[in-house]
Homo-oligomer: 297 residues x 2
Amino acid sequence: MSTATRHDPYPSRLVDTPALVPREDPVVWGDDPGPLDPELVSAYEENGFLVLPGLIPPSTIAALDADISRAAADEDVKASDEAVIEPGSNELRSLFAVHRRDDALGALAADPLLADIARQLLADDVYVHQSRINLKPGFRGREFYWHSDFETWHTEDGMPRMRALSCSVLLTPNHTFNGTLLTIEGSHQHYVSCVGETPEDNYRQSLRRQDLGVPDDDSLRELVRMGRINECTGPPGTVVVFDCNVMHGSNGNITPFPRHNVFLVYNALSNALVEPFAAPAPRPDFIATRDPVPIRR
Amino acid sequence: MSTATRHDPYPSRLVDTPALVPREDPVVWGDDPGPLDPELVSAYEENGFLVLPGLIPPSTIAALDADISRAAADEDVKASDEAVIEPGSNELRSLFAVHRRDDALGALAADPLLADIARQLLADDVYVHQSRINLKPGFRGREFYWHSDFETWHTEDGMPRMRALSCSVLLTPNHTFNGTLLTIEGSHQHYVSCVGETPEDNYRQSLRRQDLGVPDDDSLRELVRMGRINECTGPPGTVVVFDCNVMHGSNGNITPFPRHNVFLVYNALSNALVEPFAAPAPRPDFIATRDPVPIRR
């Protein structure tokens, strides 16, 4: 692989034994003021995430719900590449690239408040690297195992450095018992180098079930020894802002309460994608933007 | 089936459509004093369960842990009928009939405090209908879907009435995020009549994965509409006492923290098993005691 000769501080899927590697990049890239108070910036830097209740008003949540219902009932949408359909049923589970839609979802991705938070923490212009809606059903919602998003974005998409963050906008109540997002405090300071090799078109099955880039038990135990597990609960309208390298996951959900969210990833413009660091070919553009358009200030 | 002509207030697995049937039996069968204060008895009657921290002393928990470690390392134990081995590994997941063991586990089942609580609530002599240890691992602990224990004990074991209760003794910390027991408050007042027919030797696979006696989505939604979901968390030594008909279950567990408990079922002596109400043959004696020996007062 031609990329093997590049210097890579974050190797993964190229090694035989897993390892915990220290982060080389800052978490907060500048100190210009922005929507977040200094205390929140400090908490983000230390823990790797923030849970911000009440950030998105109820009227916006209602508009998002309506657009999602329309999308979930649209057979053309469900047949598109951007859609992930629940195996065993014909239900929409995820839909990618919602930031390109001409509706409330598209408007949310360009929301000045979210973009300003991203610009404040990343100290650069930002663009949407990935966006999607996640519709986790009640009763039979499945777990999402621990992972660092950056591990995948680096190996499979070619994101060079840890200069990206995600906003998860909660559309339904997230309780501790319906598979809420779990984050490990401080885990963003350590990179878990994973074993395995990425096969061609891995994304087609990894969106359903992740077998690669899976952190080993010992590394997870060590991360949890250093920082506690946080449950990112909150009412609809809560936004969870989290660093691209925070170790996170979620348990399954046997309760009747579904868990829906919009997931938006902001990347620094200067951190645009290069060749994948450990995959035969980049993933499609609807999963990882390769023609960045900065969000207008 | 010869049993079909008996009057049965709690039909299940004999019907084509699921139904919510009112409970015909009391929850608290008498008012003689016992270890539980009247307030706790009332809470048990209303909610269907009690979470009692600190009931089992640390020295007993340590002795139980040691006996379980010995059992889990004993190939004879793991090869016995009483053992359930994790599919895909050779690890002990459950062990039945621990009340017959001549060790701390056996002593716990006959513990005067637990037996007195059972006698107080059931107003009768009691015996151990079923006992087991459950060893749910960290990282890959699987969910246990919603169920009423009585539904199984009635249909498959022939327990006539709702005059039994369970004590779950927590051996490891139960957090909200590691698959703790979830109970639906007030659900013990309603019996969910389930569809399906019990095949022969159903228990062999149902101990691993339950496909029968599974409540339908509408009934679960209705139960959760009437009563909230409670997370039975607590430190080691906590005892969760719950009625035989409480709807309960647990989510999976991706955290490193295992969830171990001892599960003891006390049945009223006058409620001893008869022929199964909806199964070709009773389950083996190590799963459902058919020769009741009352616990000595």
